[in-house]
């Protein structure tokens, strides 16, 4: 039986706790989009500006655990910004998109929201999963 060390537990705990998750996939090379910088923002409706909630980098599986806590996840308009341009530059390629921003509305924060990004240097797609 495989023993679970404290690092695994930490990883699982952090991965499970965020009600909002993402997954970046490099569809050109058929690999996870690893080491991509991204940030999560919420629209402050009073000031009508975006305020940054968290910033992170995808791991080797293309995930970025711990995007937001349950407490911070209130209804509103959010934005996930992926630094795709820098990612492709790091692989020595040019890209059509300097970065990708996905803006979405959360009405019921009790649900889980999974927002994957499937991308190549000349295309991308996303969908609402859970």
């Amino acid at each position: 039986m495989k023993s679970v060390n404290s690092k695994d537990l930490q990883k699982m705990a952090v991965a499970d706790s965020s009600p909002l998750t993402t997954h970046v996939l490099n569809t050109s090379d058929g690999v996870p989009g690893a080491k991509m910088a991204l940030s999560l923002h919420r629209l402050d409706t009073r000031l009508m500006i975006w305020s940054m909630i968290s910033v992170g980098t995808t791991n080797e599986d293309g995930y970025c655990p711990g995007l937001i806590s349950r407490e911070a996840f209130i209804p509103g308009m959010y934005k996930l910004r992926f630094e795709t341009g820098s990612y492709w530059e790091g692989l020595g390629k040019t890209s059509f998109y300097p970065y990708v921003e996905i803006v979405f509305t959360i009405h019921n924060p009790a649900e889980r929201f999974h927002l994957p990004l499937l991308m190549s240097s000349f295309s991308y797609s996303t969908c609402r999963g859970n």
């Binding site: 308009m77 998109y97 300097p98 921003e101 509305t105 000349f122 295309s123 797609s125 996303t126 609402r128």
Partner: protein
């Protein structure tokens, strides 16, 4: 004079370019909206094209338009205006679904792209449903 003709003349006078049926030469940048939920063109969707000023990074609105019955929006930009740089197409997808009495996960969709060679043709389509969207660089 017909109401349609009056509308055309009015749009010629307004400051930022409005789409008319009479655009002279084809735009080097085109788009096409497809409603993947229903398998139809995304028609009557408002969209705006912005160009980023390189020094200030301020967005400058170039064109406002509405997709036609085929989901297309001719005359987005002229060859003269089409300089290298970063552009943004803003699609009012939320409004589009609301006009059909439906909600959508995305209030709008913005696609930012870099034009390095304005001598080429660029096609930036948007395939959209209420809960997904995709785009690619075509020509």
């Amino acid at each position: 004079m017909s109401a349609f003709r009056l509308q055309q003349l009015k749009s010629h006078i307004l400051s930022d370019r409005k789409i008319t049926a009479m655009s002279p030469s084809p735009s080097p940048l085109t788009t096409h909206v497809l409603n993947t939920a229903l398998g139809v063109p995304g028609s009557n969707m408002t969209l705006r094209l912005y160009q980023q000023q390189p020094l200030t990074t301020v967005w400058h609105r170039i064109t406002t338009g509405t997709t036609n019955g085929d989901g297309r929006c001719p005359g987005l930009i002229t060859q003269e205006q089409f300089k290298p740089g970063v552009y943004k197409l803003h699609f009012e997808t939320g409004q589009y679904w609301a006009s059909m009495g439906q909600t959508s996960f995305y209030p709008y969709v913005e696609i930012l792209f870099t034009i390095s060679d304005p001598g080429q043709r660029y096609h930036v389509p948007l395939l959209v449903s209420r809960f997904s969207y995709s785009t690619y660089r075509g020509s």
